[in-house]
Amino acid sequence: MSRADAGAQRGFEEQWGLHGVTVRYGDTVAIRDIDLRAVPGEVHAVVGGDGAGKTTALRCLAGAVNPSEGEARSPGRRSIGFMPTAAGVWGDLSVDENIAFVGSAQSVTGKDFTQRRGELLEATGLTGATKRLAKQLSGGMRQKLAFSLAMLHRPDLLILDEPSTGVDPVSRIDLWRMISIATAEGAAVVMATTYLDEAQRASRVLALDSGETLIEGAPDEVLTRVPGHVTTVDTPTDRVTAWRRGRVWKQWSPDDPPAGQPRVEDLEDAMVAAGMAKEAAHV
């Protein structure tokens, strides 16, 4: 039975993820009542602006932060691969030394280590840079090294905190190829991203705003569950509910769309519309 099949057989109670999790730092609530499911073979994208609570949610899932309320369920340290926001590579170690250290810490040794090291170096294109210090690598190469470190021990749950932020488009494609390989091998991937085009490729999306769930579901579902609808207009009727996107104006209305028309065109519109709906509900 593959890891994906094994995961699919688990009941909700046994699933990895966050179940009604709230995390407080002193008086500040970082995330409130968050649900997030990590399903083997699938990518779950966590999106949101700066300070939305993405990193806290991921750190909580990784076991680096305790929930103040709710439950964080993950498979155990040996089965988690974590790539923190700041890449998490040791700058004064070479690429090879970074891999060797993590291999040793994760008990990946002998032939298995040699084979895995070779696979990852080839997939990341770092074969020719094994002697270079991590701090001398370009941003994209460093991110790919960090990804390799997180993937080295073939984790069941791969947690990636903004793996593609600051990475050039070609390296982003490489990273996504590696994520696809991980899911194909049966890993559950949870990744935070600020790029909505990346989130659109995920199996499920959790959009956060100020630590609260804005909207959650499969990307297609999210598009149909947005409150109200968004239209493209030449001149907005209400500047408060309108925003510029490229050369056109977008206008959100709390009303359902006319029959046969979609609520929103894409995830970006959906996010903005959901944010406006939340604000409108608070006014």
């Binding site: 990784a62 680096a64 305790n66 709710g70 498979p75 974590f82």
Partner: protein
Amino acid sequence: MKAMILKEFRELRRDKRTMAMLIALPILLLVIFGYAANFTVDEIPTAVVGDNAEQVEGQLPDLFAVEDDISSDEDAQDLLRDNVVDVAVDTSTQPATVYIDGSSLFAAQSAQAGLAQAPDDLVDVEVLYNPDLTTAWVMVPALIGLILTFIGTIITSIGLVKERQNGTIEQLAVMPLKASEVIMGKIVPYFILACFDMIIVTVLGVWLFDVPFVGSVWLLALGGAIFLFVVLGLGVLISTASQTQAQAIQMAMMMLLPQILLSGFIFPLEAMPAGISWIGYILPLTYWVEISQGIMLRGAGFDSLSWAFGVLVLMAVVIFTAAVVRFRRDLAPSAHGKKASK
């Protein structure tokens, strides 16, 4: 320019460590140098032993503060070796012999000056352990401690903070490593390097400055190991309270400075007013100075240094435990599948 000045003041106001240095450091230095920077010892702990103890005691100048609770049967040289007093007068000889502890440099200098006015035939004066009152002999054993403090606090804290600054501490936190493994893995290299430094400085000190090594090497090594645990603990503690390497260096310097000035390393503790000298007695370097000078110069054994060892062990346990607890909290290892109580 006005905007720049205003910006700088705003940043400074929020940088509490720098503000503390700006305000506390001048006051600290003023108080320390005003009260503690005194090489003249006004009162020298003295023992008078032998058959004619009572008669001689009355003839000593006020500079010599005679300890009343010491039996006249005690051996004068043992009292100096065990650091019970800085001057011991043996009245069983004719004339009486005054033994001065040369390892207490400033007290010895004051004692010599005090006895210089006495007629030659009244007493014989003998300076033990550092007959020429060579400053290097007293400084080198203490310097070993200072170097260990430097490595233990500054270098260790920088090494740990670097992990946080680079974001790799998060990586370590979720790896299948126990918190104790991470902590020991970070500390052991510094412990080993500091041990090497200790050996090099001791050997060089003995070789270059002819500092005598009278006592047990193993006892000094034991003292060094305990002292290292204290200063490494301080380094870890500093790292848990610092976000950047600059902050760690700033805090370590603030811990290092009082140790240099108030441990008896430069200024004699006996010459400081009680209001200042108590600070010296809560600093680990004070006890290292006691141990290293005792072992190297006087050949003191564990019995006479047991209290200094005891204090260092207590400090090591308290500081190291606090450091480990705080570092573990930083690593935040949570049980997987953990439920928070609602």
